[in-house]
Symmetry: none
Subunit: 193 residues, 4 copies
DNA sequence: CATGAATGAGAGTTCATTCAT
DNA sequence: GATGAATGAACTCTCATTCAT
């Protein structure tokens, strides 16, 4: 595949991404993507065989590009509490962003392709989140900022709460106030006053 | 609609329920339900106009029948901790039930029919859950069983966690161990040792 | 068929008549008639096998009931011109009546059941009209009221014009002025000034 | 839509035209046209969305192609009587053509889409016919060929008669003799002997 | 007689997918 | 590589007609 083709493929993925953000996963047809991309039906099939393949490659591209805005913003001087606050702030931003989000599409996809495989993207992300938070909490305990008897439990708790809020945001809406209250509750459970 | 029709309608709803449990919401066609019920195409239309109508009536029937297995099992002598434990045990059972569940269908439906309306079923259930848990925690505090500075936050925390675990159960699976650990974490955050 | 049945049949025909007036012939389904009559589906089939049969019986009933409002209003003293004027006035009334009319249904039916048979209802009516008008014109000539070299041609001319106006009334509308002008033209072609 | 598509579209319209001539308007389904054209179900939908759209485009094509066989045959030397005779001869030919005619379909369509709008095709055609005939009659009067006190009335009379005969031709048939007699009657009403 | 539930044929419509150009 | 016309399977929905009660 030549240079040109690579670019076109990327163009299709970016355009398809917008389509998935708007319509979720199951609602999206090859026709939708063809029309959004303004290419020919046959043209799309040169690059992709199905909406599933396109969606998975959109997710891959996403993963590759995300590359932690989060870690980039951490400096040496930051305390564990600072970092956790930063992390939660990022999550909150994500949660409240109503439109530009693949959340619905991702859940729709994984509902239909549930797998307990270690490679399941959602699972990897969840596990990774728990690990990072656990380390962070342990670091906070070590530095005397946090008190917590079960860092693993606390880390999981945060991840489950975030997952729960993400769903609620997409099904019946969630207000900034609700998010703030819960994040505050979480922080206060950890911080030594 | 006579007595007989009422029974048939119920039969269709029960059969459709199984179909929704198996295939989620969006995958289900009138044809699927017709075939599952072993009735004619036109026959189904005598009772329902669309899969959406069927689904909503399935949910209604569910709500009517659920009628709190939970509250039925509470006796006068139970302490707040007992009741909370019972509640969490019920939730755990629900969570781990892999097949017999409308969870996926419900989320799929509400992804597509997101509404911040007070009448949104998911919202009502969430709010009701928070209210019940808050009362319970306050009762536990009053009886000296629990310690908690923010009963509302704790109640919300539990509901979000349950929501999060429900999703995880349906997307990448969740083990009994994971559930137990998190429920334990929650209980220990409340109980005075 | 008992007395009661005869009444019910008549009731159905009268109700169906209204339906045909509203929707024409082809648009009417057995369901429409069942609903308009507020009887059961099976019930209708006890009396009629198809919309066609119903429609034909509606026409028969009509023919039986029409029984010439026209001839009833003619008295001995009326001149030919008086009678012709009366006839055209009746036709005009019929033409301008927008709603209560089976015209569209009748044409739709006979488009689909064209027959050059002498018994074709439209043909019988046309021929009868020509005959009556011809006699009338001849009577007018005899009495010195009219001048006409081809009474048969004039009679046919009137009938064709009425037919043409009936169609126009049902397809693009026709104003009272248009009708009056044409009827005046016809009368002036006959009357000796 | 490329050159090829334009041809195919025309092919479909021509084929559909035949179908409408055979079955009228309301009886024609997308399936009928698909089968007549020997194309696939989906193929037809690439070009047209409904039988109504197809029908209207058939009418447009017709209007575009008709382009007055009539006016083409008029020469400078023709007298008004010659032209009127030619016109009526054309109409007679049209009237007696039993099969190759959209008449029934057109009336069926306009029964269901009655509109007093100036743009109603039938109305435009009627008005245009009246105008042309009126001019012609006035020309004939000026040249001493015709005698007529109400050229407008005479013109309308001719158009209504033609409309009436068209209907009769499609419902109970009309013989060449009947047409000839009536056209003769009309001509004799105008010509000075 | 009368009911109305039930059936199944058939029309409309949309899309994934292929293929000649 | 790229196009877009073409196909056909799958779904939705409506009715004429039947039949057990």
């Amino acid at each position: 595949m030549g240079e040109k083709s690579v670019q076109k493929k990327k163009y299709i993925l970016e355009t398809a991404r917008r389509v998935f953000m708007e319509k979720g996963y199951k609602n999206v047809t090859m026709k939708d993507i063809v029309e959004a991309c303004e290419i020919s039906r046959g043209g799309l099939y040169l690059y992709f065989d199905s909406t599933e393949q396109i969606f998975l490659e959109v997710l891959e591209l996403d993963a590759a590009e995300t590359d932690d805005v989060f870690t980039e913003n951490i400096t040496q001087e930051d305390t564990a509490a600072d970092i956790l606050t930063l992390f939660l702030k990022e999550q909150k931003k994500e949660l409240l962003r109503k439109k530009n989000t693949l959340t619905v599409a991702v859940y729709e996809y994984f509902f239909a392709h549930k797998s307990t495989d270690k490679n399941n993207m959602l699972r990897r992300q969840f596990d990774a989140g728990v690990r990072v938070l656990e380390k962070l909490i342990e670091a906070g305990i070590a530095s005397g900022e946090f008190y917590c008897e079960d860092p693993r439990g606390a880390a999981s708790n945060i991840m489950y709460v975030l997952e729960g809020m993400k769903i609620d945001a997409q099904t019946f809406g969630i207000t900034e106030k609700m998010v703030d209250e819960q994040l505050l509750y979480i922080m206060q459970g950890l911080i030594i006053e």
